[in-house]
Subunit: 239 residues, 2 copies
């Protein structure tokens, strides 16, 4: 018997609790402790809400503090503290799952935790259970292929620079812009400038309270929610 | 009661039957007929093998012929024939699921079927159930984040032109090359030319018989299987 527990990164998908994989559900039912990241925005407890129908009664949950900063030192010390919280249980032989919205390997904070645990406690085994991303759910829900034979697909998260977005749209056949709440006016302008207004769509909070279904960028809210995305399709098949 | 059935595109994930979503499993258990694409390569019945543990006994399965051609007219007439096979059942009020490896909206033949059905039988409702892609499973299985904060991710399928791949690697932070069996020697050369040999890895047939676990491109088979992919990571975190 292994006296050290396993740390699992579990993707819970974008919102619908039916979009977890069987492996995610089986993992969540088996672990002794759940971790979820809380932030100043508090968006991250959404992962816990999605997972809740699948948890066994009484499983303890610890919210990990995750500073919304790009300061490397602040981030590192926060994740070291979080790694120690996880390790305390893991070293007692208890399995621990860290919940992430979508997929733990796609723009997730799990990477920080996994790296920090690997550095401080190299003896702790880490496993990852993938999850459906918001853009996959957006494509499925609207029957729009993200990418087809002969095409490419570019995934971005947040637009800081309209010029970079403009270049990206020139090069990619299909583009997904996650966290498109940031500089949404600029995104709209660039997409329309490229004549792609009728080849793009906006969705927000897929499968969650406050969902905004597919609409054109022109009809999207001026100040979209944090969990908003834009799909741009340049290929022969319209969005 | 609706007298017309629903056509479902169901993603069965990359190989492990535990990587289907609950929604996919629930859909497969409910439908009256299953469709899967067979090809001259015969790879497509893999989707049926993955789904098999989740099917109710005795559900009929029809293999649809899918020509491996880029001739638009041949493709169209094949998919019209396939759409008619599906429609015959759907118009009797029976629900039908078309199985796809990975996700039905990511390089899947489901797009052809759905469009043809929509054109010939606009009254038939179509729904899509997303699935875990091979590159998500590759990232999860190896604990390698596909993309992190501030980075982008480019997905390609098949490399026809080494120059195009070279440009892509220059522009993208992280790149996934699906169907990397095609021109694998050129892929290897371009990746190494960019000094990304130690920032890339190869995997094949994840979760399937004949799986090749993570290895360097230099150690990969010279003639990789059809279901092979390469991940290239340029960001600060190594692959």
């Amino acid at each position: 018997m292994n006296s050290i527990g396993t740390l699992y990164g579990v993707g819970v998908g974008p919102g619908d609790p039916e979009l977890l994989t069987l492996k995610a559900v089986n993992t969540l039912r088996r672990v002794d402790l759940l971790l979820a990241a809380s932030s100043s925005r508090n968006e991250y407890s959404i992962a816990l809400d999605i997972a809740r129908p699948h948890l066994h009664e009484g499983v303890p949950v610890v919210m990990l503090d995750f500073p919304m900063t790009r300061d490397r030192k602040d981030l590192e010390s926060a994740w070291e503290a979080n790694a120690r919280i996880a390790a305390e249980e893991l070293l007692k032989g208890r399995d621990v799952a860290f919940l992430t919205l979508g997929d733990p390997m796609v723009y997730s904070t799990f990477g920080y935790l996994a790296r920090t645990v690997a550095r401080l406690y190299p003896e702790i085994p880490v496993r990852v259970v993938p999850g459906i991303t918001s853009f996959q759910a957006a494509a499925a829900g609207n029957g729009v292929p993200l990418v087809e034979s002969g095409e490419n697909l570019l995934i971005l998260s947040g637009v800081n620079d309209a010029h970079v977005l403009s270049e990206s749209l020139e090069q990619a056949d299909n583009t997904v812009i996650l966290k498109s709440y940031r500089n949404f006016a600029a995104i709209k302008e660039v997409v329309e400038h490229h004549g792609l207004g009728d080849r793009s769509f906006f969705v927000s909070r897929i499968g969650l309270a406050g969902e905004v279904g597919r609409c054109s960028l022109a009809d999207a809210p001026d100040n979209p929610n944090y969990l908003s995305l834009v799909v741009v399709k340049k290929g022969p098949e319209k969005a």
